[in-house]
Symmetry: D3
Subunit: 134 residues, 6 copies
């Protein structure tokens, strides 16, 4: 938990398409953590109204994961990055699929959320490498 | 920059109203950083079309700041928190006003963005204190 | 019903963050009445598809209640109001919580909708007092 | 102002497509009042950033007017209403056009906002007549 | 009808309220086809989580149908069209109702989707006739 | 390509993430045509309020182009497609960039809209080839 205590005192990063130049994979990760937590709560509560709400919110949060990832892929990463990291296209395509119908939208399997989080971490590693190199 | 490098390997937090139990003031801060960067770019470019886009995007990002803060105020913080931190209500009210018409929506003064960021940091400090105490 | 017949011929009020200066607690109340009506219909119809739709729409309408209230709290009310009505912060915080996961989003208990409507009425009373005083 | 004081203590009405059965032309009117107020403020402030914001918000509020009217036209009014009030289709079509590109979206002429408000009042009169008759 | 056959290689049409002048009933039809396909999949899968997702997405797609149709009715069609095609108002009102609570939102009856598609085709025929005549 | 010629009378295609299985590049193209038309109108009208509206609407329509393309890239195309068409990733990345800050969002150069339309046509050709092959 310690690093997190530091984290809040340093620069955080964001996206928009001005572009403002501020990006941060944490946006996708935060939503993916939410998806994972929702799936956890679905195991403990089978009330049909709760399930309907959970499915709805899981859908929205998964869509946000996709959106934040698409933004990084299109807006942050440039041709030289794709050249240096030839796996990037596939990584983003797989990650967004993992947040979609075949992943955390269409299932409530915690394993899907874990796979999604792992892909986002892979993307984040590359992201921060390119930031250091810039 | 170092702490940030750690940050991406630890838990991040989010919000939704299931509730998933995941919250993180970083969401508000990321958008506020974006607002600040937009204001910076507005100083360097007086093209009317650029200004119109910047105003539009600054509006959206400021609205997101307000939304993320409102969510923390209503959904994360509970009566015992408001008792322990009697300044919390005013802090949130002032922070959301700073992201509104009298703040980063209605002006392109970098000072407003700095005041907003400072308020978000104050909120984040309290937030992480309550998380540690939990 | 008579007062309503008059109501449609007088000024109504709204919100936006220009600000246009037009606010009206009726916006929150209308959505809360909708929430109450939805809960009423959920009692009479246990079809799973209907329940899923009702939960979805109740979620959206409750979110609108929260949004309209947040706007009043941040954009309409000013420091002198909070000084004159020290209960305002708590009132808004409780009202928005009543429209959230612990209230009309997370339950289909008509009592929650009634509590929410009562809080909105309390807010509306203060709102119109401040308008008369202005 | 007096009738308004009564108005807040009676039933207000809304829309959604469950349907909840709650509708109220006040929703369209509130947004149209906002549009009118925005146009008023545009006369007093020619700062390009203010104009860009005002245009943006006027666009959003006008869109909300259109949306609220469309909902009444499609969801509230039924064939017998259209038979009894043969002018209804044209009234709604003209009102939504008045909130569009040829009306309050595309111009900042206060006269357009007044025409729009007058049409909404005509619709509201019919609406409340049908409610009384129901 | 012929011009539409070349549609893929010629101008396609859209909506927006600048107006850009580009409209195309295909936007409503595409969403209605989606609704029909969703209803088809609901027959083959009774898993409660799947049903909740399907209901949610059917709701969104039906809402998009309504929106695209409302845009054509208000923004594209002009008084001379309504004079030449006196059935247009009723056609649009019935089509948007078929995408609403009494139609593809409130039911998962494939027949409702077929009725909706037929109405959209009727509208499209008139639309392309008016384009040819322009 | 032939099947497309009959598109108006046969199945049209869309997107959603149930998935419904209905996709159509026309959705992206329609929005891109709108962007091009907006740029055309910006040449003929230098009124600041018109420019602000045009910039706003061009932003929204460009965002829709990006969204529709992202959906095709993530939801429709599968690993075997990326194997058969190794240029697909780059094509989508370039197309979405052309709808972004360095393209039709950030400029009002008609050439950018033409480049965007050409990329969408390239994508559409591949899309319809894969549909025929399926
Ligand atoms: Ni940005
Ligand atoms: Ni959450
Ligand atoms: Ni306002
Ligand atoms: Ni309703
Ligand atoms: Ni258009
Ligand atoms: Ni689909």
């Amino acid at each position: 938990m310690l690093p997190r205590l530091f984290a809040r005192t340093v620069e955080v990063s964001a996206h928009c398409d001005l572009p403002c130049g501020v990006y941060d994979p944490a946006q996708a990760k935060i939503e993916a953590e939410s998806v994972k937590a929702i799936i956890g709560k679905m195991k403990d509560n089978s009330d049909p109204e709760f399930i309907a709400r959970a499915v709805l919110i899981k859908e929205q949060r998964s869509e946000l994961v996709k959106h934040h990832l698409w933004v990084l892929w299109t807006d942050y990463f440039k041709p030289p990055h794709f050249e240096k990291y030839p796996q990037l296209h596939t990584l983003f395509n797989e990650a967004t699929k993992l947040a979609g119908a075949a992943g955390t939208k269409g299932s409530s399997d915690a394993g899907k959320a874990d796979e999604l989080l792992a892909k986002i971490d892979e993307i984040a590693d590359i992201f921060w490498e390119t930031k250091k190199a810039a």
